[in-house]
């Protein structure tokens, strides 16, 4: 067998001729740049890449990628992406959505794409605000968020995207941050390599309507105490001096200080491959300031994709009954002949 080198691409080849029109300083620029970078070495020719999006600031993303792209309608991107994968399992499909598009108007489709484990890489840009409609609170806005549509503060309890994805049985669940470019790139590459639905929440700063909302995990002086970078097989340690960790007390997690009474061996060890989603679920509930917010791969397991299931049924039917014969199909009923 001859060895064929996987195709490599340059970021320039992946850049379309359209001018990028996000606000200056928007987190989306970084995500776009890391996406292009991640794809240079994924080995997928650019004609086999499809970017599908819904509506919102982030959903303009496909226009800036020199691949096939489909900017669809609000909330429904998972459905179009599903159709593309059904028709063409040879294509790699990325879906770009936001907290409003993916979790509010399109929540239903997101859940069902994940439970089917259809092979779509879903990037949810979470900026906790509606940006394109100029600043209303979103389903991930923290309770009490004051916006134009919640002048006295939002009343509703926010959704946690990762908790939802896990409940929907997603096989790959991760979180990363727009400005942490190295981490972002590596997560995108891991998602690209995953077989089945991949769900990535990206903390993304909206410079105009919700600036600084994620400073506690991005600011150099704050982040080490507020962000826990997950590593498979490693104990959960964080903090400026890496002296803090997560320990389980009964069924509840707690933040502990590593000292003579509590060693690294007492800490929870991350296992992204765990057959059960329990640990990932537990981590998905961590919220600042009581707990560090976990960044990295929460869950990365293999289970059959929808496309595989469908293809298996097709092959089984062909094996059992042979290729469909139209004439036989037409005549598969009581017949009568008129001379």
């Amino acid at each position: 067998m001859s060895i064929t080198a996987l195709p490599t691409l340059t970021t320039k080849e992946l850049t379309s001729d359209q001018e990028v029109r996000w606000c200056p300083g928007c987190g989306d620029y970084s995500i776009l740049a890391q996406m292009r970078k991640a794809l240079t070495t994924c080995g997928i020719p650019k004609e086999n890449l499809v970017f599908v999006s819904g509506i919102g600031c982030s959903s303009r993303f496909p226009y800036y990628m020199n691949t096939y792209g489909f900017h669809t309608i609000h909330g429904r991107a998972p459905t179009f992406a599903t159709g593309i994968r059904l028709a063409r399992p040879d294509l790699q499909v990325w879906m770009i959505t936001g907290d409003g598009d993916g979790l509010s108007i399109g929540g239903n489709h997101l859940i069902h794409a994940l439970r089917r484990n259809i092979d779509i890489k879903i990037l949810l840009f979470n900026n906790e605000i509606y940006g394109l409609t100029k600043g209303q609170y979103s389903p991930t806005s923290r309770q009490g968020t004051k916006t134009k549509s919640s002048p006295q503060g939002s009343i509703d309890n926010p959704l946690r995207p990762l908790t939802l994805a896990l409940a929907a049985e997603a096989s790959f669940v991760a979180r990363t941050i727009d400005v942490d470019v190295t981490h972002l790139t590596s997560i995108l590459q891991k998602a690209a390599a995953h077989k089945g639905s991949a769900f990535i929440e990206i903390y993304q700063n909206c410079k105009i309507f919700n600036d600084g909302i994620f400073d506690y995990v991005t600011d150099r002086t704050l982040k080490s105490d507020n962000a826990l970078y997950l590593e498979h097989g490693k104990p959960m340690i964080f903090g400026k001096d890496r002296k803090k960790g997560i320990r389980l007390k009964g069924l509840e997690p707690e933040v502990v200080t590593i000292d003579k009474d509590c060693s690294e061996n007492d800490l929870l060890v991350h296992d992204e491959k765990a057959p059960s989603a329990t640990l990932a679920y537990l981590l998905s509930r961590f919220a600042n300031p009581k707990f560090p917010e976990c960044v990295g791969v929460y869950r990365n397991v293999e289970r059959p994709t929808y496309e595989e299931g469908l293809e298996n049924q097709i092959q089984a039917q062909l094996a059992a009954k042979g290729k469909g014969d139209l004439e036989k199909l037409f005549k598969n009923d009581d017949l009568w002949v008129v001379e």
Binding site: S16, Q18, K46, E47, N48, V50, F51, V52, I55, P62, Y63, M65, N66, T67, Y68, G69, F70, H71, T72, I73, R76, P78, T79, F80, A81, T82, G83, I84, R85, L86, A87, R88, D90, L91, N108, H109, I111, H112, Y306, L310, Q313, I314, Q317, L318, K321, G322, K323, G324, L326, E327, L329, F330, K331, D333, D334, L335, W336, V337, V338, E339
Partner: protein, 647 residues
């Protein structure tokens, strides 16, 4: 069976009483018969009607059927709401409707009698199961006294049969529980009418053997019951007469019976096969369209991929996504589903992708009448989207025509790159007629070409980006104004499309005022251009004259039959039928203007009538029925006579 016991039940009219085995009843030749099987929704009436239809078709009659069942799966037994009916019209001549009035009615209980008796001819045959006319049965059907014991059924030729009792006797050796035994009773009724109308039992016996292949006991019980019913007719002198309906003169060929939903499903499979293209069908369960999803789900060997979506929006999204990727995307639903799909259909209009949307119309608005028919989604299909958002619309005129119009929808969608509605309805979806099975080699060939090369210097006609070498311009149109269809996986043709207004040619996002106006007009003109590829309207009757009756969709059979009857009475009336609603055939206006009056019968408040008046300034008159039921021929005939004879 014990004839003595039949006597005791008083089922035999006194004047003919007495156990008596006789030769044969007088046989009366008739042109056509309409019979309805009516009973509780658990009584197996749909099955009995279907079997009767199959046998009649095999015998060579022309057939048309009308199943009518409640929206509730199992409404309380014996109640008026739970009545399920199946009407069969079989004939020695060409017929187009399931019949207006009944020659015979089988009523399995009082509720079935009450809800159906009004449709029985005054001298019609009424077969009643007297075993289900007890006090509580009568109470459930709101009868104060038994209609079998007063004069309310005077004039009908009543055949009183203790069907439960006779059925149980027929199956005594089969060791069934009483409940199981009772479930055979539809076969008793069926056997009886088989005898009455000279139908052979063999096809049904064969069917029973296949259906219950795993349970010899059930085969035995059902076959015995069927034969018992037949023999009862032959043996007992309570049946008024036997009828004979001769074979119809039908074009030569091999036939089967087909419903509209079956024809759509088979049409889609045939399209996929002849185009050699994957067909992706996504639907969400909804009455009366679900059978299309169900049937296609079992067509994996034919290159059909299906997905039962999480909702109506997802179903159309999956179909559009599949078309973007190069398959043919199809979805099917009913009116409420179209409401939900509207925004996505707009996206398919904007992105100019092929899409077939089947709307099996039902009574609306809102949930409306899920199991009843209506033609009230025409204007929704025409206009029910934001912005000016034209889609093509076709409407099959009969169950078998659904097959042909499925092909037309796929052809138009792919030839013109746009969504096409197929407006079927509950009446033709569930109704059946004979279908002459087409030869595979005669099926239409739909040619599809995908762009493989950059097109920017191919006879560029548009300033936007044209002439610049080596680029792919997704909106660079051909002479029909159709854009090319380049599919993912094609190197060098990577492009982005979406719902934001496009610059013509490049397809880039564009908010320029003049470009927008140009694009709105272009999308409309592209739909108008379809008219160059569809057949002109054909008129049945005089080319010019007093009255034209014009309809669309499932009303075809009733309108044609009414017009033919009026023509036989010497009236100057013609008819034509629109199978293409958007665009309409090019000669539509000319045809309309050849007649002094134009009558538009519709199962809505006048939607086509409104369109014709708006488009052609004709003084069209509506005949509108909004009762969830198809037209009776007599209703249209009466209106024709009223208009022409001033009746």
């Amino acid at each position: 069976m014990s004839i003595a016991e039949v006597n005791e039940k008083g089922t035999i009219p006194p004047e003919t009483a007495g156990p008596k085995v006789k030769n044969r009843e007088p046989i009366e030749e008739v042109e056509s018969i309409t019979i309805r099987f009516a009973g509780d929704s658990g009584d197996g009436m749909q099955l009995a009607g279907t079997q009767f239809t199959n046998v009649s078709a095999i015998l060579g009659n022309d057939i048309a059927t009308f199943p009518d069942f409640p929206a509730e799966i199992r409404a309380p037994a014996g109640t008026l709401a739970g009545v399920s009916g199946f009407q069969v019209h079989f004939s020695s001549t060409d017929i187009h409707t399931p019949g207006d009035r009944l020659n015979a009615l089988v009523a399995m209980n009082p509720a079935a009698l009450k809800t159906n008796i009004k449709d029985l001819n005054k001298d019609g045959i009424l077969i009643v199961n007297v075993d289900s006319f007890g006090t509580s049965d009568l109470f459930k059907a709101n009868y104060k006294t038994s209609p079998l014991e007063d004069d309310s059924l005077k004039g009908y030729r009543i055949v009183r049969v203790p069907i439960n009792k006779l059925t149980r006797e027929a199956v005594t050796e089969c060791k069934l529980t009483p409940r199981e035994a009772d479930r055979c009773k539809n076969f008793f009724a069926l056997g009886l009418v088989y005898w009455m109308f000279e139908r052979p039992m063999e096809p049904t016996i064969k069917w029973i053997k296949e259906k219950f292949a795993k349970n010899a006991q059930y085969v035995e019980a059902n076959v015995r019951t069927l034969k018992a019913g037949y023999n009862y007719g032959e043996t007992v002198e309570i049946m008024p007469v036997q009828y004979r309906v001769a074979k119809a003169k039908i074009s030569p060929g091999t036939y089967r019976k087909i419903t509209g939903n079956e024809a759509l499903a088979l049409g889609l499979v045939a399209i996929s096969q002849t185009m050699n293209k994957t067909l992706v069908f996504s639907g969400y369960p909804i009455t009366p369209a679900s059978p299309i999803l169900e049937q296609l789900s079992d067509m994996k060997r034919f290159g059909i991929k299906t997905l039962q979506a999480e909702d109506e929006i997802a179903a159309v999204g999956v179909a559009i996504g599949a078309s973007f990727a190069g398959a043919l995307g199809v979805t099917a639903t009913s009116g409420p589903g179209i409401c939900l799909k509207s925004e996505a259909i707009g996206l398919a209009v904007m992105t100019e992708l092929p899409l077939v949307v089947i709307d099996v119309q039902r009574g609306g608005p809102s949930t409306g009448l899920p199991t009843k028919t209506e033609q009230a989604d025409l204007l929704q299909a025409m206009f029910g989207r934001n912005g000016e958002c034209p889609a093509a619309i076709v409407a099959p005129q009969s169950p078998a025509d659904c097959f042909d119009m499925a092909f037309e929808a796929a052809r138009i969608a792919t030839e013109f790159m746009l969504p096409v509605f197929v407006l079927s309805d509950g009446y033709i979806a569930n109704g059946a007629e004979p279908w002459r099975i087409p030869k595979i080699e005669n099926l239409p060939k739909i040619k599809i070409t995908h762009a493989t090369q950059p097109n920017s210097n191919n006879g560029a006609t548009h300033e936007n980006g044209a002439g610049e070498p080596g680029k792919y311009l997704p909106y660079l149109r051909n002479e029909k104004l159709v854009r090319p269809w380049a599919i993912p996986g094609t190197p060098g043709l990577e492009h982005r499309i979406g719902g934001i207004e496009k610059q013509d040619g490049t397809g880039n996002v564009n908010y320029d005022p003049l470009n927008h106006e140009h694009m709105v007009k272009t999308r409309a003109q592209k739909v108008a251009n379809i008219a160059d590829t569809i057949p002109p309207l054909a008129v049945s009757g005089p080319d010019k004259g007093e009255l034209l009756v014009i309809g669309w969709g499932g009303t075809y059979g009733s309108i044609l039959t009414a017009v033919q009857r009026a023509q036989r009475k010497g009236l100057s009336v013609a008819t034509t039928h629109l199978r293409y609603l958007n665009p309409m055939p090019k000669n539509t206006e000319a045809v309309l203007k050849n007649y002094k009056k134009v009558l538009v019968p519709e199962l809505n408040s006048g939607q086509l009538c409104w369109l014709l008046r708006a488009k052609f300034l004709v003084d069209a008159i509506g005949l509108n029925k909004i009762q969830g039921r198809p037209f009776l021929v007599s209703e249209i005939e009466a209106e024709i006579e009223r208009l022409l004879l001033n009746k």
